[in-house]
Symmetry: D2
Subunit: 133 residues, 4 copies
């Protein structure tokens, strides 16, 4: 499990006075950086070093998230297939689960536009963060 704390800003709110739902895509992406690092230790975009592409994402909203308090995001791995895997995120505010989300990422060569097989080495690193509840 990876855990990050994010302090919401006014720009993350919308006219309804709560955090806009679209912000979760951004916050969850920030929470995935340690996973990106497993695939691209340099975290460099150039020279075909980045080899992940998103094919699916989904979000469930249980409680409104507000501006005034920090947000905790926990990130897990849920499934690992041949060329893709699922990341699962949970968002808490004051210990209340407010939202969760899953994204499916494919190990992908942007240059050849082909899916890549997830290596055993990467698989082992991902497995350390499996969701077990």
């Amino acid at each position: 499990m990876f855990e990050i704390v994010i302090t919401p800003g006014v720009h993350n709110t919308d006219g309804l006075g709560h955090i806009n739902n679209g912000v979760l895509a951004e916050w969850f992406e920030t929470a995935r950086t340690p996973i990106y690092k497993i695939f691209t230790p340099s975290l460099e975009f150039m020279n075909n070093q980045w080899q992940l592409i998103m094919v699916h994402s989904e979000y469930d909203f249980y409680n409104q998230i507000f501006f005034k308090r920090d947000v905790v995001i926990r990130t897990f791995i849920k499934k690992i297939g041949k060329t893709s895997f699922t990341v699962y995120h949970e968002l808490f505010q004051e210990n209340k689960k407010c939202a969760s989300g899953s994204v499916v990422l494919v190990y992908y060569d942007y240059a050849t536009e082909e899916n890549l097989d997830i290596t055993d080495e990467i698989r082992k690193k991902l497995k350390k963060h499996f969701y077990r509840y």
Copy 2:
């Protein structure tokens, strides 16, 4: 069906040179404004006039979206329940379907925190935009 055209900006791209996946939540939300208008003709947030809350969203990404060309978003209604309904979006760039998404919105009273029954009048207006393919 509702259709809007959006011109991507540089800020919508990311280090991979394409449009960042999180932008879709924003663009699809902009595409839903005519639907919000069915519920809140004034489009005012204040005084409990806004009565929709999102409980679920999901996105499928088929092809990368790029900065250089306009994007067309088509918006439909897919399901109407007792207190909630599903909006379906399709995103095209150069006539290629690049992404789609669904969001479930609940007709909701923010003051009492209770779900509201979708009225026949609203139901009739939503049905005009049903997805039939």
Copy 3:
């Protein structure tokens, strides 16, 4: 002069019920695409084709901008120096000037990290959009 129309989305608002000030950086950037095109006709980021870097920006806010109505942005060139130039933007909503902004962009080689001299050809194209009021 270049002119674009932007339809605000709910995500552009903040808890005060108006458009968040930070959105202007994004909208004005979208308005500058035709200027970027003068420097990089392909609008491609890769292979050192993009050769502009921002060194300064400023924004003046005269009236609140709201969600409900389209926004018109007019874009002009204000000054052209040896290696840099100033772009000036004005934002209107319902014919009321709500904000303006200026950004200074330098013609810049990202690979060598050196400023480039603005060529006569580019200078001529920029001059067509000079602000004269």
Copy 4:
């Protein structure tokens, strides 16, 4: 002085591989929350509790900011007038000053649309964070 640390996300980058300039408006706004708290201890937007409006902002960019490393933002007060004051921000990455910015905020009653005089109590609290270098 107030100091915050922000971890950039992929969505903060653009096609040039660095952090998009528009992100600074958001990050600096997050850095101003403790200042907003001086004026609105509840940090609530509703019932006319929020009484600050931005009239000017400006940003200077000295060095590109990159995705891979945390960013430190230091926030100071620079000037206090009768009804307005200036906040000054500096952004560092790996101890290198990459950008700075100033925003002018007016103490403002959104309901009556009138400027308010900054009270002695607030003035005293702001002065504790004066920029002196």
